[in-house]
């Protein structure tokens, strides 16, 4: 009885240190493996919401949901803006994809027509259609949280894949594979 009473506080003394060590481990985990800050769309696997955007460029038509069901094959939906720096970086990759026969539609976010025209003249125009989204309405409707983002939309108008950030050269084969999977 007396030995037990002497033992118990001995163990309890280590409890604060143990808690502190546990807390330290938690802090280190948070420091070295920070949480993913990308917000991915919860709309993958769902049909493209209804929208009908006016054209953002003189030589390309605007963009509406119905058009995604017309082509009979998957398309890319690229969310971009002339004021977005990484969009310039991904332009060569979009051009390469377009050259391989991929159909790309664009949505210009909060952009002026003259700025879009300048952007396309300087960095190339891989788009079949470009919609003008001045209030980020389509962006919000499909769960996109920034520019650039690229969605794979299948021939039934279902969103199949979301790529967040610019498409790098090494991402191109993956995008082509996602398009083939959406066939």
């Amino acid at each position: 009885m007396s030995t037990e009473a002497a033992k118990r506080p001995g163990l309890a003394v280590w409890l604060p240190l143990g808690l502190f060590a546990g807390f330290l481990v938690l802090v280190m985990v948070g420091l070295y493996w920070p949480a993913d800050r990308e917000v991915s769309s919860a709309f993958i696997g769902k049909p493209l919401p209804a929208f009908d955007l006016p054209p953002a460029a003189d030589d390309r038509p605007g963009l509406a949901t119905a058009q995604f069901k017309e082509g009979g094959k998957p398309r890319l939906l690229n969310i971009f803006a002339s004021w977005c720096v990484p969009c310039k970086v991904e332009a060569p990759q979009l051009a390469a994809l377009a050259q391989q026969g991929v159909e790309i539609d664009g949505v210009a976010i909060r952009d002026r027509r003259e700025d879009v025209a300048g952007f396309l003249a300087q960095y190339g125009n891989p788009f079949k259609r470009i919609g003008k989204d001045d209030l980020s309405q389509v962006q919000l409707a499909i769960g996109s949280s920034g520019v650039p983002e690229t969605f794979v939309v299948d021939s039934k108008g279902i969103i199949r894949y979301q790529h967040i950030g610019d498409i790098r050269a090494e991402d191109v084969p993956m995008i082509l594979r996602k398009l083939a999977e959406a066939e």
């Binding site: 919860a42 977005c84 720096v85 209030l135």
Partner: protein, 138 residues
Amino acid sequence: MRAWFLALLALLTLAAPLAAQDMLPPAPYAYKQLPDPAQERKAQALMETLRCLKCQSQAISDSDAPMAGDMRHQVRTRIAAGEDPEAIRQWLIERYGDYVSYTPQVKPITWPLFAAPLVFLALAAFLLRGRFRRGKKA
């Protein structure tokens, strides 16, 4: 020398933000309140509990990011059209996940959040039950 330095500093600080910013004016209801005060109150209460996706530690009511402005416009126009604030929250959660809402949703994964206070209260009552009894006796 001092004036020259200040001029240079002003030049540097003024030139930088021009780079990655859109040139469009903010959405009509980004900074304008709804004419009906009751509706504006509802919209404001909702906007304070929605996360800005560009600046993720801020609510859309606190943020000057253009996208937060567009989200405020979306919230205000929907409230003006008579939509329920919780329906608008659900509309955003359907697109961005629970992360977009600062108000925790009651779901299987969040039940400990709501149950923990009750569990701790019950535990405290259990641990202290002897003391209360003894206090009464004395």
